[in-house]
Subunit: 341 residues, 2 copies
């Protein structure tokens, strides 16, 4: 039955529904949260009142009373980077399906901003937190630990995680890329990198080590910038490296954007890839396998890593015993751009 009602702006509360349905407030609460505890007759009666009034529960009152927020905080360094949006998607899909809300913050690659943002997240009483890397300030780590909630640090393997950890070894990946290029017969191997965050630095460190082990390391083949990464920056860095340093016959790019920039520019410069120059990227974005020549890159299960982080959180919240560390690994996708010289 429809009531002729004025467009009263007063918020509908549990009590309003209870009165309309002729029951007590707690019964309405049960219909919403534990419907199996209410008889079918009453349940329908209450549901009808809810629908008629357009009642929407106040999550703040609910969370305050029950001390449960159903919120999980997620801190990522950037929304501009497909790496993190893919991870976020994995996290979101799993947590959303489990009935959790995801509260995401962007730390802009800054530990100080991260601390501020994590304080904000904690004020939402999240039931768990998923954060990026291990580069937090001391104060930040301290408040995280005092929150006494499950915490996942993701994207890289940490020697001393705060709690749980999912990632892979960037150092080893960098090392392996260098080995792959050396095996291809390339001898003067360069590196270009933008936005050198802790993980990119580890890749570079592993890469350097491998070249040093082979006696092929040369400092003037390394070209980096702190600017955000992009295809355009890849073009620039590539040109700078090629003009300033002669004889470079292979380049490891710290991500696929840079590598694509280098590839597209080398096409324009009529440099033959891979005969005259090998190119290797990182992350293996979709374009890498379709460009011509196809681009060698390091595949990383970004979405899967997000899924795993979320699953670890859920397991912990559900009291399941789990392994606190997950190494997701990586895989060098060897393609045309690093074919033999």
């Amino acid at each position: 039955m429809k009531m002729a009602k004025k467009s009263s702006e007063k918020k509908i509360t549990l009590i309003d529904v209870a009165i309309a349905a002729g029951v007590s407030a707690i019964t309405v609460s049960r219909v919403i949260n534990q419907p199996e505890k209410v008889s079918e007759a009453l349940r329908e009666q209450v549901q009808k009142a809810i629908d008629t009034l357009g009642y929407i529960p106040n999550q703040y009152a609910s969370s305050l009373a029950s001390a449960k927020s159903r919120v999980i905080g997620v801190a990522i360094p950037s929304l501009m980077n497909i790496v993190f949006t893919d991870v976020l998607r994995g996290i979101y899909e799993v947590l959303d399906a489990a009935g959790y809300k995801v509260l995401m913050v962007d730390t802009h690659y800054s530990p100080l901003e991260e601390e501020k943002m994590i304080r904000t997240l904690l004020s939402q009483s999240p039931e768990a937190m998923i954060i990026t890397g291990g580069d937090q300030t001391r104060a930040c780590q301290s408040i995280l630990q005092r929150a006494h909630i499950p915490i996942v640090q993701m994207m890289e393997l940490l020697s001393q995680p705060l709690d749980m950890n999912v990632g892979f070894s960037h150092w080893q990946a960098g090392y392996d890329v260098a080995v792959h290029l050396l095996e291809g017969g390339y001898t003067r191997i360069g590196f270009i990198g933008a936005r050198m965050d802790p993980r990119a630095q580890q890749r570079l460190a592993g890469f350097k080590q491998a070249l040093e082990d082979a006696g092929k390391y040369s400092n003037d083949c390394i070209w980096t910038t702190d600017k955000p990464s992009s295809i355009g920056i890849g073009v620039e860095l590539f040109k700078e490296l090629m003009t300033s340093t002669k004889g470079v016959d292979a380049i490891f790019c710290t991500n696929d954007d840079l590598a694509l920039g280098a590839l597209f520019e080398s096409q324009r410069m009529k440099i033959n890839v891979p005969k005259d120059l090998a190119l290797c990227g990182f992350n293996d974005i979709e374009a890498s396998q379709y460009v011509n020549p196809s681009l060698t890159s390091v595949y990383v299960g970004r979405y899967d890593m997000g899924v795993k982080a979320a699953e670890m959180v859920l397991d912990r919240l559900n009291g399941n015993v789990i392994n606190n560390i997950a190494d997701m690994g990586y895989e060098i996708k060897k393609r045309q751009s690093t074919g033999q010289k």
Copy 2:
């Protein structure tokens, strides 16, 4: 298997801080929310207690008591599409800087899921909502309007927006692309599209209209799928269109992923772009200007649109009188891939 709760895990509340600082609870509240109303001496005293105890305010209690959430709800169709993550980034940057939290939900392109998710958002008492398009269910539009908060519908221009609206005309953009291709001398012009959401359908409709106006429309040149868009799908659709329909000399791809797939595949098939085939994408992602040949595409200010949506929300919340409609426009970036035949 619950762990015994140690007393050290007890949450620190306002009261604890007040006692530690030797003041009343409301004074602590003021130090946090209206510090200018507290004398400097007390303020320092309280701040010290806050820091020592590691106090973090409970946002739920605060929101419940003050009826202010500082939350803005955002509903986007997908986190997998750079279009929406770019818009989200614009929204996030502006709202974050203004002290608002962004609660994002992913509707998976489904109006039914959107309704469910928007209910969830509304239970967080958002102070405003930013949603995508005008494709909501009746029920959803109804609860949105009854929420009596500012609402922005974004991504496309609507004939009857619920409240505020920021976007551009997809129909006109599709029309203009067809005109551009016709002007290039192309006569048998096809279309490939994936994930044909309402906006992609409008682009197709405008495109068709232009071809019909020119007497060049042919139904067997239109190839679409409901699968999510990707470079890989672009490759597939392109191959299907080229093998099933002969003589196609230009293709409008409903986004740049598809266009890149078509471009890369045509390189492999030794089809000369643009001499034998023109390609035009949509969205103008970064790769489009760097590939060889560079890809004609329709530039859309995604980040700017997010910024604009957020600014409209803030203006409204701050009581500023503003225009409720914002046409962000678009621009066809004419590049090599649609050069003369």
